[in-house]
């Protein structure tokens, strides 16, 4: 490469690098300007404008500087610095070429030849790189664009609400201090200028207000006005225990109940969740032939706040028929505290120590209590342990079906067991076989007792009765259900007698007949009808106790019953209509009532906030109308349903009759 070409190429690249640096500086200036505007020092448009002008100046300055600085001589000197071993030949050759210095033609040719030989391996990209400045410029440009985009995106967002005290504002700050209940062990929390406060149930809330007015108070829908106590330095405070989620309006003014400024505050009361406890092992009902077994019970308990105690309680049921006895007790539990909110426990339920006898049962369950002193014990699911020879033929510790399944399948199960017994007829021990047959007879008697109970049970709620009853498709008034039930009971009695006598063959016939009758009785054609003119129950104790002279027909008030909710909504609608008519600021109490239409819905909080924030009469009117439109929808939902059906028309009716008359032959 020739000396002049190398120098010219390097000079161009160095000038380009200088301009790129200027551009990068311009972008930095632009980003800084937009950022300052975003911090409240102006608008984004102003930031972009100022940044753009500054950047343009920087670019022009860089262009001018690049032109002035990078002459062929300075470029050659820069290359000499970056490429050692040139021994000033490049600078000399360049100066000779550009006429900065003069020499003989032979000397000029010799210097040029040697310089060309030295730079033969040099590349302009290596001695005058442009990639670095280009990358730097790209990164800075992207960053600048991101800053501008961010400033544009957020330009319409509302500013953070009023943390800065404003001398012109009456209600300068609100400080909410939340003191959780002691049992939670949480620290006291403070929130400045909150829009919503979440407080655990039972906790105390202290609101402290800085105001330049003479009075400050709190208004809550449905509650009397709650004054705040002034400390004399513009501070007012009130403290109470919120009972439920609600919305309050913090107001300040010079005279009672006339607010100069108000703020809406949503108070969410978070109820204490009950602890959860479960018996994880064995987690099912058990049955044993003897009372010598011991059952290991595992308990798992947890609570969102903290646990206080875990128990394992049992009830022993002994006896039979009308002579049942119940004894309650507790079993010691060994606790493993994983942490304050999650415990595991183990206990051993020794049947021998409970002195269980034949046919006795134990029902046990785990109880847990959290740290809330006002909360009660919470129980797990209860499980049963049955003891007795009735279940001896099964392996010890088998799971007894749950109650629903047991009664639902019992007659079918009796048949299955009878069939098995019939198949074991060749058992070498006739005494044992007879004993098993008598045990089956006992089960059959239990099933029969259940059916008798069902057929003789009193149905108190006719709605429930109707839901369970079914109508005949043909002969709807034929009551077949009761007859089938009686037939099933008789067949079961016969089966029991056969089983007691060891006649399993005839017992099976009777059992199957009973099953068929049961199925008929329970199918959809069963029909019980007990219609009363109104939802009433007969009280036998009042029979013949009335005063006949006072007997009269029931009368009903023809006026519409007072529905407190709808009355309240209509009153709210009336007050909002006043605001919409006059365009005057909404009273603080009205704002609180709007927010309290449904305290759990953010919609009403927004409506109340919009009403409170409306500055002009037109804004107030539109806010009131929007709230009324929403209120009308709520009132409509809570009113009697209506249907868009055609309106009656007498003319239509008479015309229809004429058509019918004409069409008759």
């Amino acid at each position: 490469m020739e000396v002049a070409a190398l120098v010219r190429d390097a000079q161009r690249r160095l000038r380009l690098a200088s301009v790129l640096g200027g551009l990068a500086a311009a972008f930095v200036a632009l980003a800084a300007s937009v950022s300052l505007a975003g911090l409240g020092w102006g608008r984004p448009v102003l930031g972009v404008t100022v940044g753009g002008l500054l950047g343009t100046g920087l670019v022009l300055a860089a262009l001018r500087r690049a032109t002035a600085r990078w002459t062929p001589s300075s470029t050659a000197a820069y290359v000499e610095e970056r490429a050692p071993g040139l021994d000033n030949l490049l600078v000399t050759a360049t100066d000779l070429t550009t006429g900065v210095i003069d020499a003989s033609a032979r000397m000029r040719a010799e210097v040029t030849r040697q310089a060309a030989a030295r730079i033969a391996t040099l590349r302009p990209q290596a001695v005058a790189p442009v990639a670095g400045p280009a990358w730097l410029l790209t990164i800075i440009a992207i960053g600048t664009l991101a800053v501008i985009w961010s400033a544009w995106e957020t330009r319409d967002l509302p500013r953070p609400s009023q943390p800065v005290p404003d001398a012109g504002r009456r209600l300068q700050s609100i400080l909410a201090t939340i003191t959780p209940p002691a049992y939670l062990g949480r620290p006291v929390a403070q929130i400045e200028d909150p829009e919503q406060v979440t407080i655990p149930a039972g906790g105390r809330l202290r609101l402290e207000v800085r105001s330049s007015t003479a009075l400050a108070w709190i208004e809550e829908s449905g509650m009397s006005l709650r004054p705040m106590i002034g400390a004399g330095d513009g501070r007012f405070a009130v403290e109470w225990t919120p009972g439920q989620t609600t919305a309050v309006v913090v107001a300040a003014g010079e005279a009672g109940a006339r607010a100069d400024e108000s703020r809406l505050l949503q108070i969410v009361v978070a109820a204490d969740e009950s602890p959860r406890v479960a018996i994880t092992e064995p987690g099912r009902d058990l049955a044993f032939g003897t009372s010598s077994a011991a059952v290991d019970v595992s308990i798992d308990a947890n609570d969102a706040e903290g646990l206080q105690a875990v128990r394992l309680a049992y009830v022993r049921m002994s006896g039979s028929g009308e002579a049942f006895a119940f004894n309650e007790g507790q079993v010691p539990v060994t606790l493993e505290r994983l942490d304050a909110r999650h415990w595991r426990g183990r206990a051993r339920l020794s049947l021998a120590s409970l002195r269980l006898e034949e046919s006795d049962s134990v029902v046990y369950r785990a109880l847990v209590r959290d740290t809330n002193p006002a909360a009660d014990w919470v129980s797990s699911d209860a499980f049963t342990i049955d003891v007795g020879r009735r279940v001896e033929f099964a392996s010890a510790g088998f799971a007894v079906p749950d109650e629903e399944g047991r009664y639902g399948l019992s007659q079918q199960m009796v048949i299955v067991k009878t069939e098995r017994l019939q198949a074991d007829r060749r058992d070498p021990s006739p005494e044992l076989w007879t004993e098993r047959s008598r045990l089956l007879a006992m089960e059959q008697r239990m099933v029969r007792a259940e059916v008798v109970f069902l057929s003789g049970g009193e149905v108190a709620d006719e709605v429930e009765e109707a839901a369970q009853s079914h109508e005949l498709q043909e002969g709807r008034l034929e009551n077949a259900g009761r007859g089938e039930m009686l037939k099933a009971i008789n067949d079961m009695s016969r089966a029991e007698a056969f089983l007691n006598g060891g006649d399993t063959v005839r017992a099976l016939v009777a059992e199957r007949a009973a099953l068929v009758a049961l199925q008929k009785a329970f199918d959809r054609r069963r029909y019980f009808l007990r219609t009363m003119a109104e939802r009433s129950r007969i009280d036998p104790t009042r029979r013949l106790t009335g005063d006949r002279a006072r007997a009269q027909s029931r009368t009903r008030d023809g006026r519409i019953e007072t529905n407190a909710t709808l009355v309240g909504l209509r009153g709210l609608m009336r007050d909002l209509a006043d605001v919409a008519e006059r365009g005057e600021p909404a009273p603080v109490g009205l704002i609180a009532r709007v927010a309290s239409v449904d305290p759990s819905a953010g919609e009403w909080r927004r409506q109340a906030a919009r009403l409170a924030a409306a500055a002009s009469p037109a804004e107030r009117q539109e806010a009131a109308r929007a709230a009324m439109a929403r209120l009308a929808a709520v009132g409509r939902e809570r009113s009697g349903q209506s249907a868009p059906v055609p309106v009656l028309s007498a003319l239509r009716g008479w015309w229809a009759e004429e058509r019918r008359e004409d069409s008759r032959p």
């Binding site: 209509r570 609608m573 439109a629 209506s642 309106v647 058509r659």
Partner: protein, 589 residues
């Protein structure tokens, strides 16, 4: 001198012809008589076109002038100034032109002649117009629905929001997104907040666009919001689950006062609130009948009078095919369908159905099962019979309360439509000229041979005026003119001897100055449908051409007397003067 002789002969000829006065028979084309209606509206003072100061009123007068000029001697243009909503002032067979910016006039349906329309100014686009508001009677404890007709132009993609106002209270709101120009009927659910005669205003606003005019954005209507419970009777000749569960649904609704009579056995019955006998159901709005197959002939007679004369509604809830005397109340043939699985007909579900074999043209199907119409209402006389063929719907009630909700809504709508024993309606024009019309409608199950109707207007200033009532178009219907004038806080009390009475406040003008309007499409339809043309104000020439062409080829000969014109004096005098001057020039005397 020949010229002088010629002039002398000319003068003599003129004199001779004038003396003879000969007639000339001609057959000219008949003149065109055109009536033009210039329709005035609240927009008259606005600019006819964007950016111009020429008002709509001026533009309409200019159009009338152009038409008159172009007709010239071929006819006559008679210009009439009318207001929007007035009848078109044209003869039935003559051509007529309506000059309007969009305000509508009333065109009689029997009009035969061509009606052309000249639209003045820019079309109203973008614009939405609230054309009509229709509100069914409502109850203070129930939901209500109003129907608003909207017409829009140039609003595609925009959403119009309709708010319903009762005074300043916003009682309902609905919105509609426009996909094309034209008209829509929008149902606006609303919540009655006050009982009595109310005036509701529907106000339409379109977001994100500035309409050409706002004068057509409001429309108003009156509605009666009832505050008393509607008397309902449920009647069962034998216990019926279907009626039991419908009765319970009605009992839980604050709009109804439900009285019940259930016969449990031949001499054992249970009743509440001493229900009216079936022969005396004047005050009752709806009778719900369970087990209609058990009705006696006497029961059916009472129900029949209730339906036909009282105009009441009867709901039949069978649980088996209807037989016996009750078949007189059934206007269709029903067949039974039993299904293994429950299916739906409207909001009701059932597995045992009665379905109509053939739905009549006057039947209203409210529930359609997979096998046919199952819930059918039939107008009978002045009333209505509703039959629910969902026999075991009570058994398939769902947790969402659809069964109860359906029956509450249905019976409420029937009760609202039946109305009170004596109802009072006021005509729309009750405040325009100081007088209003009132209509009294009395309905009773009893046969009345001599009606005694009295109506009295009472105002807050103590002035009381007896209103003369005249028999109207139906039995028990009367009308009268009620003087209102400028009085305020007046009411009209009507009393029908032996039937009942009603009362209504007077002098509540509709709150908005509303004028009917035409859309571009409706103007085209009206004009072309009558054989006329629809043109804009810049091109009225085709209108005149059409009128001239419509004169036809028929000519009627008529005599003309050309010599009776005074213009002949000029040639006569000129001829004599010329002849005298030529003679004097020639030296003659």
């Amino acid at each position: 001198m020949r010229l002088a002789e010629l002039l002398r002969l000319t003068a003599l000829g003129i004199a001779l012809m004038c003396w003879l006065d000969p007639p000339v028979i001609i057959a000219p084309a008949p003149p065109v008589i055109v009536n033009a209606a210039v329709v005035h509206s609240p927009r008259d003072g606005g600019p006819a076109r964007s950016g111009e100061t020429f008002t709509i009123a001026e533009a309409m007068n200019e159009v009338a002038r152009q038409l008159s000029d172009q007709l010239a001697a071929a006819g006559t243009l008679r210009v009439h100034e009318v207001s929007a909503g007035d009848p078109v002032p044209c003869d039935a067979l003559q051509p007529c032109v309506v000059i309007t910016e969009g305000a509508a006039v009333l065109v009689p349906g029997d009009r035969k002649g061509p009606l052309s329309i000249v639209q003045v100014g820019d079309g109203l686009s973008p614009n939405v117009e609230a054309k009509a508001l229709s509100i069914a009677p409502a109850h203070i404890a129930g939901q209500a629905t109003a129907r608003v007709s909207l017409a829009a132009a140039g609003l595609r993609g925009h959403t119009s929001r309709v708010r319903l106002f009762d005074g300043e209270a916003v009682v309902g709101e609905a919105s509609h997104q426009w996909t094309s120009d034209g008209e829509v009927a929008l149902d606006v659910p609303w919540w009655p907040v006050r009982a009595g005669a109310r005036t509701l205003v529907a106000r339409v606003v379109t977001d994100g666009i500035e309409e050409r005019t706002g004068v057509d954005n409001d429309v108003a209507d009156r509605v009666l919001v009832e505050g008393e419970r509607w008397p309902i009777v449920t009647f069962e000749r034998r216990p019926s689950w279907a009626a039991t569960f419908v009765r319970r649904a009605l009992e839980s609704d604050a709009r109804f006062d439900v009285s019940t009579l259930t016969e449990l056995a031949p001499r054992v019955s249970v009743s509440t609130a001493r229900p009216a006998p079936l022969g005396r159901l004047d005050a009752v709005r709806v009778v719900v009948v369970g087990a209609p197959d058990a009705l006696s002939a006497e029961d059916v007679n009472g129900l029949d009078r209730f339906i036909r004369q009282r105009g009441g509604a009867v709901v039949l809830l069978p649980d088996r095919p209807i037989t016996g005397p009750a078949t007189r109340l059934v206007q269709q043939r029903w067949r039974e369908r039993l299904e293994d699985q429950a299916s739906a007909a409207g909001p009701l579900r059932a597995s045992e159905w009665l379905v109509v074999s053939e739905v009549g043209p006057m039947d209203l199907v409210w529930g359609q099962s997979s096998d046919g119409a199952a819930i059918v209402a039939t107008p009978v006389g002045a009333g209505m019979v509703l039959i629910s063929g969902a026999l075991d719907a009570w058994r398939h009630r769902t947790a969402d309360g659809a069964h109860d909700g359906f029956w509450q809504a249905t019976v409420a709508r029937l009760a609202a439509g039946v109305g009170a024993t004596v109802s009072l309606d006021l005509g729309d024009g009750d405040t325009t000229d100081g007088d209003g019309t009132a209509r009294v409608l009395a309905r009773t199950t009893r046969t009345i041979s001599a009606w005694q109707v009295t109506a009295t207007r009472t105002c807050a200033d103590g002035a009381t005026t007896v209103v003369r009532m005249w028999p109207a178009d139906a039995t028990g219907a009367f009308w009268g003119r009620v003087p209102v004038g400028s009085r305020v806080d007046c009411r009209l009390d009507a009393r029908v001897a032996g039937v009942g009475e009603a009362s209504m406040p007077l002098g509540q003008p509709l709150a908005v100055d509303w004028s009917p309007r035409w859309t571009q499409a409706s103007m085209e339809a009206v004009a072309t449908g009558s054989g006329g043309l629809f043109v804009s104000d810049g091109v009225v020439g085709p209108l005149v051409d059409q009128w001239l062409r419509a004169r036809g080829t028929e000519r009627r000969p008529e005599p003309r007397y050309p010599m009776r014109s005074w213009w002949w004096v000029l040639p006569f005098v000129a001829s004599l003067s010329g002849e005298w001057w030529l003679r004097r020039r020639a030296g003659l005397r």
